[in-house]
């Protein structure tokens, strides 16, 4: 019991240190730009966490990241490099929008459900392409998913620009989805919507899958030793297809959430690299669903707080990017363990020199 508490403290500390270090480096840059670091950082926290609305907006900003983070984590856990979450998200989003504006006269609950299923299905189908190529012909999934992202973005932009463009719109968007397909707002004054509930639901399911289910066990095993897993009969090729499908479903749902909850129509190139951020989050969270959830919340804070930094203090967007990058960079390192390792190493070297 005592030990657990210690670990808990330790993990808090080990994520606090990098954030503080990043803030320290960031303050130098902020000062160079002629702003006050204290003002900047306090506006970040005020904007992200100071009141109910701020918190709700932070959760709103986290919503797509929870899903893209989980989608990536599922694949990475099995050592499958699904870098195509971005593309899967776009196709899922478009499918949801299409179902959202074509189906009419539906009861709201059913309509939303259909859009969710449709978007998830399309995300899955798209993830199946690299999965099948990998399973049958051992084609590198990382390259294929990277390439297909571009194709997916081009394709959905085309759809929104031409065949499905909203009449009269001067940018590439479709018409609005039916009100029955919208994921409702949860609170007034914040953009937080039903998409968050979906994300939390998916989180719970993924947690159960990874921690409690047979497939989770197999994912773990395949991720650590492919050949062993094949030898004990896990049928790695089939599992790759299955795992990628699940990853695609979750990625697709990320897109659906954005369409049904945030934009309420399909907007070409709406995602500010949710897929890539999800990848970072999955790695920071060590492919662990709880870690992903924590990472997504952190990024939500950074995004929501970052806008406040701009709105309230006028810190330029580019600097906010730098600070976010710094935080990620420092978080990549397991400080507590390495820090100790580093000091002992230095001590040893020092001692050795004294002896010599």
């Amino acid at each position: 019991m005592k030990r657990r508490k210690n670990n808990w403290l330790k993990s808090i500390f080990s994520s606090l240190i990098p954030v503080l270090l990043a803030f320290a480096v960031g303050s130098i840059l902020i000062m160079i730009g002629g702003y006050s670091p204290i003002e900047a950082y306090s506006s970040l926290f005020i904007g992200a966490l100071s009141n109910q609305n701020a918190i709700m907006n932070t959760l709103f900003a986290s919503t797509p990241l929870i899903l893209t983070g989980l989608a990536t984590a599922i694949a990475f856990k099995a050592n499958i490099y699904n870098m195509g979450v971005e593309g899967q998200l776009y196709l899922g989003a478009f499918a949801a929008a299409y179902l959202g504006f074509t189906l009419q006269g539906m009861p709201p609950f059913l309509h939303v459900a259909i859009c969710l299923v449709g978007g998830a299905f399309v995300g899955m189908m798209f993830a199946l392409v690299p999965a099948i190529l990998k399973a049958f012909w051992n084609v590198n999934e990382m390259v294929v998913t990277l390439m297909l992202n571009y194709a997916a973005i081009l394709f959905t932009t085309y759809l929104a620009s031409f065949p499905f463009k909203a009449p009269g719109a001067s940018n590439a968007t479709t018409v609005d989805i039916m009100p029955s397909a919208e994921l409702p707002r949860l609170f007034t004054g914040s953009q937080l919507n039903g998409g968050f509930i979906v994300a939390i639901g998916v989180f719970v399911l993924v947690w159960i899958l990874m921690k409690k289910m047979k497939l989770g066990y197999e994912m773990n095993s395949i991720g650590r030793n492919n050949e062993f897993s094949e030898y004990v009969g896990m049928g790695v090729a089939k599992k790759i297809i299955l795992i990628m499908s699940i990853s695609g479903i979750v990625a697709g749902l990320a897109g659906v959430g954005e369409v049904l909850g945030t934009h309420r129509r399909f907007v070409a190139e709406f995602s500010p690299d949710y897929g890539w951020t999800g990848l970072t989050i999955a790695l920071l969270g060590k492919h662990n669903p709880v870690g992903v959830l924590a990472g997504a919340l952190l990024f939500g804070i950074l995004k929501n707080g970052g806008s406040s930094m701009e709105l309230m203090v006028g810190v330029p967007r580019s600097l906010i990017d730098v600070i976010q990058g710094l935080i990620i960079l420092f978080l990549a390192v397991d400080f507590l363990n390495n820090q100790i390792g580093l000091t002992t190493k230095l001590k040893e070297r020092f001692n050795r020199r004294k002896v010599a």
């Binding site: 390259v143 932009t157 050949e227 990058g325 990620i328």
Partner: protein
């Protein structure tokens, strides 16, 4: 025929930044370090190259500065990813984000510019007219009249191949990547080798940045590398980490892109044409995969 020559000429131009970054990236790849910071290294090279050229008016200084800046980035990447044992993918992605923001930020606070920095004072590199090459039919048409980095990318292919397979450094880098314990057990400086591998990549990425910002055009634009670092990464994986294979894939991508540009006038939706380079790579890899797997008699996948 003429059209084909033009496409091939253009292919060299378009594949050069990718090839430079990819060939540079091979070393880290072979040392077992997944370097997703190629993108950031190219971008910093482009930025610093333009700044140095603007401030000093010297291309040589610009090239040196670009390389140095990429090396510094390489050190940061290596320090966090290798010495501090951070996750290298996160480290790389973080570095890309930082470079993107930092270049824009510096431009804004020191030069009062946003987005684009172009100025007549920026000196670029011009295409070369090479005497003998010029007169060889076909080959001359394709290979003459390129900017220096195009030739450097070709030279780097041979140098990389030689280094990787015929020198100690290359052998050690491959050892570290394939079996770190083996390197450790004979006392090879594992970390130093990884650093070196990353830094070689940084040098070539710096040159790639020069190619993008001081040869193709003479200006800096925020995020002007637009994912070429990732295409380079894809080329490395597709070429299975061999210099020749990697170059071939960089070239194929450049070719498909050059072709795509010329096909845009055909009357089918532009999006489909623009997908060509990306789908082309997938198709090529699939064909390669089908042929490789055909004779396979053992079940399952090898561990990576």
């Amino acid at each position: 025929m003429d059209e084909l020559l033009l496409i091939l000429h253009s292919t060299f131009r378009m594949s050069t930044p990718i090839a430079l970054a990819a060939i540079g990236g091979i070393f880290a790849h072979r040392a077992g370090v997944l370097n997703v910071a190629l993108e950031g290294m190219m971008l910093i090279g482009a930025f610093v190259g333009v700044m140095a050229s603007f401030l000093t008016g010297s291309v040589i200084i610009a090239i040196i500065a670009a390389i140095l800046s990429a090396i510094i980035l390489g050190y940061i990447f290596s320090f966090f990813g290798i010495t501090m044992k951070g996750n290298v993918i996160i480290t790389g992605l973080a570095i890309n984000t930082i470079v993107l923001g930092l270049t824009a930020y510096i431009l804004q606070i020191f030069f009062g510019q946003r987005g684009v920095f172009s100025n007549p004072k920026i000196v670029g590199l011009k295409p070369l007219d090479i005497p003998i090459l010029r007169d060889i039919p076909i080959i001359g048409d394709i290979l003459n009249h390129h900017t220096p980095m195009v030739y450097i990318s070709l030279i780097s292919l041979f140098v990389a191949h030689f280094t990787l397979y015929h020198t100690k450094l290359g052998l050690y880098i491959r050892t570290v990547g394939e079996k770190e314990e083996a390197a450790h057990s004979v006392g090879l400086p594992v970390n130093r080798l990884k650093y070196t591998a990353v830094l070689i990549g940084a040098v070539l990425c710096g040159l790639g940045g020069i190619n993008i910002a001081l040869e193709n055009v003479t200006m800096f634009v925020e995020n002007m590398t637009t994912g070429r670092g990732f295409i380079a990464l894809a080329a490395i994986f597709s070429g299975q980490g061999t210099p020749i294979g990697t170059f071939v894939f960089s070239f194929l991508f450049g070719f498909a892109d050059a072709l795509q540009i010329r096909l845009q006038d055909i009357d089918i939706p532009g999006a489909y044409i623009q997908m060509i380079p990306f789908l082309f790579i997938v198709v090529v890899l699939t064909i390669v995969g089908i042929f490789t797997v055909r004779g396979k008699t053992s079940r399952g996948f090898k561990n990576e």
